[in-house]
Symmetry: C2
Subunit: 345 residues, 2 copies
């Protein structure tokens, strides 16, 4: 087992980590700093983060009969979920998907199995999913919706079939919800084994490390027993609540990113030997058909643009790269560098 | 198993949680808010928290050849340490001590055993510790120094004997170091199985949830594999580094608390039927000899002062209460309420 490595992005245009590239408007920043003046850094934070939970309920329009669990990023929520399972439990996720499902499951000694996505559409292989559910009787299934790193929304009907067939919990990871037009939050009341996981990271608050899980009250009560009591610090509580209660600027930023996503996608489609995949997230996966992805990645980096090289994961991701949608000028710099990389090939 | 309960302290004088009662001087607060303006909330935090680690190294004068691991409070560090152990490992701690050792060890299914402290001095029962080490061959031993909730420093020679006898790791939890005159940081280089855990909570930054572990480089490298990569959010990183690099005001606050500790201790000693225990921390444990601790606790609460009732843990803590040292006026209010509680008995 090796530690999770994070690329050093000093002085590069950073399009590798699905971050919102925009800063806060100055008036909002001033208001935020005023709010922070009242935060008691010397006191332990509210262990139940009640004000923040109210803000999350409002901004996500959560059903009354659901409960919330907060974590330091989705990472901690994944860890809590997996720590709650018996030692011999099985966990299933499609692959490729968010790497922490596998990483944390294996670090806890659980039996993890990745089920390959269909290679052309990156959609779920429903027969394979159902066969593995039947064989392994997994205690937990992760489904990222939209999926990372492929960017697509899996077929909703297939997901519903999986939820209905699962003997254990199904966690729909909606980290990229701000960029998608579909969600399972409204389906929560239809199932007793469905949980929806979200984060404020992609909305523009990645620095705060705040993820949250939404699901049935009785179930979350059990998970809360494994949560460390003061896990969300006071500054994250105050800042996230402030941002969610003043979210117009974040929604505007999100809308800008969506528009840029279309422009970048169209530009990528117009480049010979580049195959972009349609995305419901704030990034675009693309395949280099004529050149090796390693070459393109390194050339981009040399030109000052950092994206994510997924090619070494192999399988359906061979020669695949992932670019986060940035500011217009960043996207233009990326596209220009990409064309130069392909010409230099 | 039940979730960790936290008392509601609304409108009460809060002397239950070992918090530093002082706010930040206005000039410091202004400087801090200026610093925050440059923090990129939209970006993921530095996964290695390098600037903060430098500040921690300087402020603790850490030996060059030691490494650091940061966590969301000591709680997360305890969790990482315990997750690193094999499933059938044993863990030992004296009792009573910090409750999270037992709570997290048991939640992970490890074999935890508490070894009672000597009932009169609250010091280590060294023969019992050594016998249990020999029997259980524990992978990990926790020793809080000073100990919570008793406030004393265990005999340093006994601790050294335990470190030398332990087949696994020994973690010295120095959460209360700002109020003690003794530490094992300078002993780190003498042992390859010794780790020192600290936190910024008692120094006055409880809201930030920042704990840290200091130990041998090769050992911490292994623990880092279990750390979630972005576990320390950007605001905690920036704020803790700022506070540590401008720590004169915190040191002054700490000094005030130490002086108040003497005054409160002497006042408690002068009250009939109250037996206070000498403390190297920012709290004082005391026993109610003539009245039940439950009665005293409830009466104090009714009078607007919240302390911690430890009596229900039984054993050596029967009829014991723990009061955090607060501001002079808070301590006076506590002492006055205590005398009233004893008279009402």
């Amino acid at each position: 087992m090796s530690a999770y490595k994070v690329a050093d992005a000093k002085n590069l245009i950073k399009l590798d980590a699905m971050e919102n590239p925009y800063c806060w408007p100055e008036a909002i920043q001033q208001q935020w700093l005023e709010t922070l003046k009242n935060s008691a850094i010397n006191r332990y934070p509210d262990p139940e983060a009640r004000i923040l939970c109210d803000a999350l309920r409002n901004s996500n329009r959560l059903p009354e009969e659901s409960a919330l669990l907060l974590g330091n990023g989705s990472d901690e929520i994944i860890q809590i979920l997996l720590m709650a399972l018996p030692q011999n439990a099985s966990v299933i996720a499609p692959e490729p998907s968010f790497v922490m499902y596998k990483q944390i499951a294996q670090s806890l000694g659980l039996n993890y199995r990745g089920i390959p996505l269909l290679s052309d559409s990156f959609d779920l292989d429903l027969p394979a999913m159902l066969a593995n559910i039947n064989e392994l009787q997994p205690a937990l299934i992760f489904l990222a919706y939209p999926n990372n790193p492929t960017g697509n929304l899996f077929d909703a009907q297939a997901i519903k079939t999986i939820i209905a067939s699962a003997p254990g919990l199904v966690v729909i990871d909606e980290a990229y919800a701000p960029f998608a037009d579909s969600s399972f939050i409204d389906s929560l009341s239809d199932y007793n084994n469905l949980l929806v996981m979200r984060t404020v990271s992609k909305l523009g608050l990645a620095g705060l490390r705040l993820g949250y899980l939404i699901g049935p009250i009785a179930l979350l009560e059990q998970l809360h027993k494994l949560r460390l009591p003061y896990n969300i610090n006071c500054l994250t509580q105050v800042t996230a609540a402030f941002a969610l209660n003043n979210a117009d600027f974040l929604r505007q930023q999100t809308e800008n990113i969506r528009q840029e996503r279309s422009l970048v996608f169209n530009a990528l489609q117009a480049i010979a030997n580049i195959k972009p995949y349609s995305s419901s997230a704030n990034f675009i996966l693309f395949k280099t058909l004529g050149a090796s992805a390693d070459h393109v990645f390194n050339s981009l980096k040399q030109q000052g643009v950092l994206i994510k090289n997924l090619s070494r994961q192999g399988g359906v991701l061979e020669n695949c790269l992932r670019v986060t949608v940035g500011k217009p000028e960043e996207n233009q710099a990326f596209l220009k560098a990409l064309q130069a990389a392909l010409m230099l090939n």
